[in-house]
Amino acid sequence: MRTPRWLLAVGVLAALAGSCKSKRQGITVGLYASMTGSTADFGISTRRGVELALEDLNAHGGLLGQRVRLVAEDTRGDASEATSAVTRLIDQEGAIGILGEVASGLSLSGGRVCQRRHIPMVSPSSTNPAVTQVGDHIFRVCFIDPFQGLVMANFASRTLRFTRVAILKDQGAPYSVGLAEAFRQSFTANGGSIVDEQAYRAGDTHFSAQLNAIMAHNPEAIFVPGYYTEVALIAREARGAGFQGRFLGGDGWSGPSLTTNDDDKLVGDYFSEGFAVDAATTPVARDFVRRYRERYHSDPSGLAALGYDAALVLFDGIRRAGTTDHAALRNALATTRNFVGATGSITLNEHRDAVKAAVILQVQANGFQYHSTVNP
């Protein structure tokens, strides 16, 4: 009995290995994002945007005369999953360009793999400055946190006329820590004071200690630069404890799940984003919104729009490089100038970051409402 069994195992493995190699054809592009887990909205929205761009591309003949194939890997919001997802995309699927992640901490993990393999990566929506500092193969099509922090700080002190704000950040997420620091600097430079700064960790469900401490300082607003799952829990607990002030946040709030479920805990609160349906005035943006609605029967979030743009920028780079060679593709991406995407004109600067406007959205009972646009 024994020998045939291990022979069978070897045979199965060999068959699996064979089947992996054999389906490579055309150009392969990889996407890694959290399609499940507590940041599932991020990956699902991004993937929809990317697929919309891809379908349009293949309907018009693909790239370099070949069809483009998208392989999407789920990171489940976990940094080590991100590393192995990107490794799989490059080593097994033969991706020549990588799209992702949304969360900066995961982009840092995946980016290191891309950089070591010299495969260009375009992050749709990771805003922490360190992401593109991983190396010269890492690009992004969104603004960075120093700008986002400035936008929300100016909004808090000039538009809302707040002078006393507390911060509650996710200390395990580079995104949250960086954005909190950017907000603190800009807000204090405006003459406001940060009355308290508390921290939580992703996965926490219990925030009463932090909120009790914050509410003892009676702030006008709490800046929560976290991801939507925890933000919703924090707001719910704070409102239950009688907090009357505003909540402010960044693009990590951008998930439909922020407002589904129960109550009106965040109605009237504000966050910054890279895209708003109501502000989509350019033909490219309007065309994107129309096609997105037709395809998915819902409004695109900022993450979907940035996923769409990240894919377009990568496709444009491949087209201009005229080859799938890594170095040529990297150089083509680095010279992306005035590329018109759904989220506006994209020019990648010497740090491989896009310099773009931010929009401020207000949470409503049934979604987000456009408030204003802030140009860099």
């Binding site: 499940t36 887990g37 508390q198 939580y200 996965g203 200690a209």
Partner: protein, 339 residues
Amino acid sequence: MTAPRAAPPGPKVAAAALGLLALWPLYRVALGAWRDWVGFLRNVLEGVSLGGVYALIALGYTMVYGVLGLINFAHSDVFMVGAYVGIFTAGFFGITASSQAGSSVAVTVACVAAAMVVCALLGMTLERLAYRPVRNAPKLTPLVTAIGVSMLLQNVAMLVFKSTPRGFPPTLRTASVHLGPVATTNIKLLDLGAAVALMVALTLLVQKTRVGRAMRAISTNLEAARLMGVPTDRVIAVTFGLGSALAGAGGILFGLDQPRIDPLTGVQPGLKAFVAAVLGGIGNIPGAMLGGLVIGLVEQLSAAYLSSSFAPAIVFAILVVVLLVRPQGLLGRVTREKV
């Protein structure tokens, strides 16, 4: 630091140094309490209510350790399954996460009952399939098995329940309750009350019933108990079942207060409950209860008055200090290792 340099500092010296360091947090907490004693009482109440849930989970760790000397790492995942059973039971009665908050005591009781039954069965199944075959293997084998079972449960839960967090159905309406000047919610008081009631029931069961006596006998000496005619296999299965049922109830109490459940929900509370069991003296039932309350309080107070960034580190620092001074835990007895 003026610690003596000549002799290598023994554990006693290290403990004394750490004890001096512990005065600083005590001072901070006292200062905070002096400034705002209503806020302090609120934090104490929150901490005790949280500690009640930790204690319920810790009991499962400690009971299994007591009879088998096994750390059942899958216990925290049984807790997670309990929370999911609650979601499905409430769904069966038509209450989903997006329902308006109702006030159905009957459904809540049904959720607790279903979670306890399913978790008890799950615990006994795990014991039969995973732990009994390796019971007589070297100590490391069951430990590694337990870690494997824990990962298995988490990953099966990810496949079956999907890893996107789910809201816990609002079977009870959250209402503010004022205890004198301290505002809290009915849910927190219920959590605390239910945890205490279950712990009292368990203590009675272990101290006053035949099966409880059998458990204590096995915990003293498994072989001797078997030679005296105690049906050890059955009693061990019952122990797993009881501990898992408590974890299931804990899952519901946790869900009512913190309504977001995912397949890794059990990991954090499970780890803290394990710390609670060790702190109280592993294998010791009152110790697990005390340990749970201490961990809940320490976590809440250190997050509120010291630093929310370091609250988990402080919890583990306390564990280290206590174990330096009392290696057997707060209520544990010194037992000589049988060779």
